[in-house]
């Protein structure tokens, strides 16, 4: 565990959501893989931030005022050097949708290896308490709403059945010549999020909604590349 619980810290700061870095800290505390990352305040400490990271990296703006970072021009991927990172930060500082915003810093993060994109979510129902959700990313979640929900806490069998219920599960298993995703790695994350000792049960009083989107799953591992936690 980190010395400071990111949920409690955000609550104390009066925030209604965890920023990306705090969200990943929380995931990491529950044993979920997140990309190696550092926070840079600006181009001044970009060198130091980059020293422990492997390229390629991605840079994301951190701001409580910007909900959709990509749309605002606040995400630059596949950066191969410190120079490219600095250029990306400089560019963001002048982007029309960013320059007026409060900026907490820039998250510099190793890029996850390619894999299947999944969404794992959480929600607190007023009558039933925490629920956990899983679906395949992109059109599967957004258009087809091919997702599966369970009440927390879930068991291993529940997690297996959640995946089996998805219409898109054949794709995870390698249909159409794609590389299969590790179902075990997904089940492991589902239990760490929705199980008895999982994140949603442990923080049921504080977290009202959660999205891990995307969770990138290769044939061996799952990495939470972005996460949103709404407090309340």
């Amino acid at each position: 565990m980190k010395d400071e619980n990111p949920v409690a810290a955000a609550r104390r700061a009066g925030r209604s959501a965890l920023d990306e870095s705090a969200g990943k800290q929380l995931l990491s505390a529950f044993g979920i893989n997140v990309p190696q990352s550092r926070v840079a305040k600006g181009i001044g400490d970009a060198d130091a931030a980059m020293s422990g990271l492997k390229v390629p990296v991605v840079v994301k703006v951190m701001s409580p005022d910007i909900l959709h970072k990509s749309d605002a021009g606040g995400v630059k991927i596949n950066l191969q050097s410190v120079a490219e990172v600095k250029a990306a930060i400089t560019g963001m500082l002048t982007a029309p949708k960013i320059k007026g915003a409060r900026i907490d810093g820039f998250l510099i993060e190793e890029m996850a290896p390619a894999g299947h994109e999944l969404v794992i979510g959480g929600l607190r129902d007023p009558d039933f308490g925490p629920l956990v959700m899983v679906g395949l990313g992109g059109v599967f979640v957004e258009i087809l709403k091919d997702v599966s929900f369970r009440l927390c806490p879930i068991t291993r069998i529940d997690a297996e059945e959640m995946l089996a219920e998805l219409k898109g599960v054949a794709i995870l298993k390698g249909a159409r010549g794609t590389k299969p995703a590790s179902l075990d790695a997904i089940i492991d994350v589902l239990i760490k999020v929705g199980g008895d000792d999982g994140l949603l049960m442990q923080h049921a009083a504080d977290i009202s909604e959660a999205d891990i989107n995307p969770l990138i799953v290769s044939d061996t591992a799952a990495v939470a590349v972005d996460a949103r936690f709404i407090l309340g």
Binding site: L123, D125, D127, L131, M133, V147, I154, D211
Partner: protein
């Protein structure tokens, strides 16, 4: 105190108080007094009335605290505003009060009154059922709010958030063979919730299967925990009213926008082994299969044999069962050969579905069915067998006893091969009164012997699929 001890005064009260009966004898509570007397209630009945000394020949008392013995169950049907004061003055003298009156939390202006009512029940030391409900039907206690309902105690325990639907469940359920261990209408659930009653029915040795009609579960987490910890010890069939697909309107996340009420109930059912059904018919059909057949987790139902008359009916049923994840596959060659040795007339199909026209079924005045069933049981290894008879097709073509013999043969075969396969009878008719009467007679006989009877193949399929899902749940988790 165990949950059984706690709820025994409700399900088998020794004393009943009735609030709202009039000295003239024409109010709903007077009807209630008449009904429980007719139903055979032998305990003390205490009418509560501010002025009358006698109602319906019974000594009346001024308030709930005045009765000679403590009140196990109080039935209350007077205008809502006067009830809280009445309850809070009961001084621990009443175990359960059921408030059937409406005008409480179901309407905006009654929300405060409902809060007062719940507080008054607590202050008076009782558990409260309702308000805005109809009552309880409990054959073991000989108390009922309904006109009909047998005295026999059955295995089906019902909790209904709607009073009117509770009456429907009793009436329609009875006509299809259901027998109840109890039915409680809980209305607005100001105090006692479906979760409380679920706990009782799970522990209650009389109850084998539980049916729940529910619209909202304010204590949903507790409901989930009770079901989860019960580990599908008894089948629970849930008819959920108001299953909206709508996600949270104000959701800030993807997940929030995708979560409708429906998703929660589907999740609950999958995780706890409950059967979630969509219609009152499916509810009754599913309860009936659990009343009559014993779930078999060691060999979950998948392979189904169809046997009866009506080629198109068999084909449609095969399609329908496939959609329900049941499998009607042809027999192995050995079974087919054994059936072929019976030398049934042309037009008979012996592969599964076993399709026998009336001409075949009337052989030996219907006793041929027993030979066919014996072979299927001995060689076909069915997990379930659905025998269907289109009663209309026999009219004017066979002697009346052919149908009797067919049904009797099917019953005998059950006794010869106990526990080998789930056996279901489908009796199809066109609604013609004489046929309906025969069907009723067959149904009563069959259900009493533990054979569920359905009107159509699809109804039987839905019920069988529910049984199969329960068996699979137990097989995977027990």
């Amino acid at each position: 105190m165990t949950i059984i001890e706690e709820f025994t005064p409700l399900f088998a009260p020794k004393t009943v108080a009735v609030v709202g009966a009039s000295a003239k004898g024409n109010a709903l509570p007077n009807v209630f007094i008449r009904r429980i007397r007719e139903f055979g209630f032998t305990g003390d009945i205490y009418p509560i009335h501010p002025a009358a000394s006698e109602i319906d020949g019974l000594t009346a008392y001024k308030c709930l605290a005045d009765t000679p013995k403590p009140v196990d169950y109080a039935y209350i049907a007077v205008s809502g505003a006067q009830i809280p004061a009445m309850l809070s003055a009961a001084k621990g003298h009443v175990r359960f009060a059921q408030v059937v009156s409406s005008g409480f939390g179901e309407v905006e202006e009654g929300k405060n009154l409902q809060a007062d009512l719940a507080a008054a029940a607590r202050a008076g030391g009782m558990r409260l059922l309702g308000p805005n409900c109809l009552g309880i039907y409990t054959p073991r206690g000989r108390v009922t709010f309904t006109e009909i309902g047998p005295k026999e105690v059955g295995p089906v325990g019902i909790i209904s958030q709607s009073g009117g639907l509770g009456t429907d469940i009793i009436r329609r359920g009875l006509s299809r063979g259901l027998k109840f261990s109890g039915l409680v209408t809980v209305g607005n659930c100001a105090d006692v919730t479906p979760s409380d009653l679920l706990e009782f029915y799970i522990a209650d040795p009389q109850t084998k299967v539980i049916g729940l009609y529910i619209e909202t579960a304010k204590d949903g987490r507790r409901l989930f925990d009770i079901l989860r910890h019960a580990k599908a010890a008894k089948p629970v069939v849930i008819l959920k009213g108001g299953r909206t697909q709508q996600g949270l309107a104000a959701a800030a996340s993807h997940t929030g926008s995708l979560a409708g009420d429906d998703r929660v109930w589907v999740a609950l059912a999958r995780q706890t082994g409950c059967m979630l059904v969509d219609t009152l018919d499916d509810f009754i059909d599913t309860l009936l299969i659990f009343q009559t057949l014993k779930p078999r987790a060691q060999r979950p139902t998948h392979q189904v044999v169809l046997f009866g008359n009506g080629g198109g009916t068999s084909v449609l049923a095969t399609d329908c069962y496939a959609r329900l994840d049941l499998d009607v596959t042809p027999f192995a060659q050995g079974t087919i050969d054994a059936l072929a040795e019976l030398k049934l007339p042309p037009g008979t199909s012996i592969t599964n579905p076993v399709d026998c026209p009336v001409g075949t079924l009337q052989q030996d005045d219907g006793r041929v069915a027993e030979k066919i069933l014996d072979i299927i049981y001995a060689q076909g290894q069915p997990e379930a067998l659905v025998m269907h008879l289109n009663l209309s097709a026999f009219v004017g073509r066979t002697k009346p006893e052919v149908l009797d013999n067919l049904v009797a043969a099917s019953m005998r075969v059950q006794q010869k091969h106990p526990g080998k396969a789930h056996f279901i009878l489908v009796l199809r008719s066109d609604g013609e009164p004489a046929l309906e009467a025969r069907k009723r007679e067959f149904r009563d006989k069959a259900v009493a012997l533990g054979v569920p009877v359905y009107d159509e193949m699809a109804n039987a399929g839905v019920a069988l699929a529910a049984l199969a899902s329960f068996e699979r749940f137990r097989a995977a988790r027990a």
